[in-house]
């Protein structure tokens, strides 16, 4: 995909909270929370369907005074893609380099923070699990032998063992 691509930030099904220069996003469809650092937030906010990757990179240079190139923007796009925060998927264009190589180059050359999008996934339940006892009250994902642990908070049901492979929840 070329640098003339015009990414569009997804808004549907998201609860968005802008805080200073960072952004918090809660995805109603997947029950995931995301934290976009300043760099990632700047890219995402400029994904308005009108600006190309190159133009977004220019926005960065104007705003931060730091010289960034399209690879920097593609790093953010790559993560936003993966986390379903763009309207349409865009394949990153790292000019034949691996993501690791790009990270290393940008990290050394740039004085501004690399774009980072952190993600938290949690159970889809209005009354979440009690992780101290690893008991879940939601629709069962696993039936097992434990009298009070009929379900799995997370992980998979190992039917032969009659228990959840990952019994600990994420309190």
């Amino acid at each position: 995909m070329s640098n003339s691509a015009k990414p569009i930030a997804r808004k549907e099904g998201l609860v968005i909270q802008e805080l200073n220069d960072e952004v918090l996003v809660y995805d109603l469809e997947t029950n995931k929370a995301h934290c976009l650092n300043e760099s990632a937030a700047t890219v995402w906010k400029n994904c308005d369907g009108a600006q190309t990757i190159s133009e977004i990179a220019k926005q960065f240079i104007e705003k931060s005074g730091s010289k960034v190139n399209e690879d920097f923007v593609w790093l953010a796009i790559d993560q936003l893609n993966e986390l379903n925060l763009l309207e349409q998927e865009l394949k990153p264009n790292f000019q034949g380099q691996s993501r690791r190589e790009v990270l290393r180059k940008i990290g050394l050359a740039s004085i501004i923070a690399l774009p980072i999008v952190s993600m938290l996934a949690f159970p889809n339940s209005s009354l979440a699990a009690t992780c101290g006892t690893s008991v879940c009250g939601e629709v069962p994902a696993c039936q097992n032998a434990n009298p009070v642990l009929p379900y799995c908070c997370a992980g998979t049901c190992v039917a032969s063992a009659g228990a959840c492979a990952v019994p600990a929840c994420n309190p």
């Binding site: 949690f122 979440a128 309190p171």
Partner: protein, 298 residues
Amino acid sequence: MLVLVQFQHAILNKFQNYSYNLILKTIKMCRDLKLSLDSYGIKVGLKINRAFFYENSDKIIPPFVKIEEYKEEKDLLTLSIGNHPQKGSLYFKDELILTIKEFNDEALEAIRDKIHFAIARVSSPDKYHFHAGAVAYKGVGIILPAMSFSGKTFLSKEYISRGATYYSDDCAIVDNKNYLYPSQNPLAIRLPDSSRVYRTADELNSTNGIEKVKIKIILFTKYSNEGKWDPRTISQAQSIFELCRNFYVQSFLAINPEETFHFLRNFTNDLEMFQSERNEASEVVEWTFRYIDKMLNS
């Protein structure tokens, strides 16, 4: 006629051979009890088998909850015991929230936690519950959100042993003006074999919080063998994101994400926010006390 009377007499005798307690127990099991659970003014109804309640109330009712006469609460928890006495279901407003296959200690703890959740759910947006330790020092509230097994209780215990006032080691109750309320639950101290002992602040020669206190500091920390205490300030967004790891916050987000984000934003607006791994709890406590002394003197 004589045969009939003798027959009736034989039946009556057989009936009278059952113990009084067994009959009473049977009658009791058929009777449900309705109560109101009051947590700082938030009320939830509880419909529960009378005998079960009398036997287990100390295990299933959270410590910060007062039990009162039922007054037609609109939010009702119902604990149904099935045909088999060892099975049951817990409902909250007609929603099944827990299935019980055996009423053992783990099940009773799970019931208590679900009752707590129901209260927490009804409490918002006036009050929120965080899975967190909470203490106060010189009138400054400190909240320590963390996952299970991260050392919350140990750290809370260290704080109060060095002069902080105890508010909670597990569930911090805060309102939308950043006040922290005393939860009155004892510290659940884990032993090396993973069992727990419960000690009140008084038993640990420490002070229990009585009045609400304003929270000024939020500290995200967890114990690690190789942990090095090096607290760094984190942004408001990072702080809210860390709070999203908290399972109470997750349940509030699932119910009403806009309101929850709004609450978290207001909650973290005026807080000093820090994050670091730790090893020795004493280091954390000493740093906190120095920070607060500096804050109060400036």
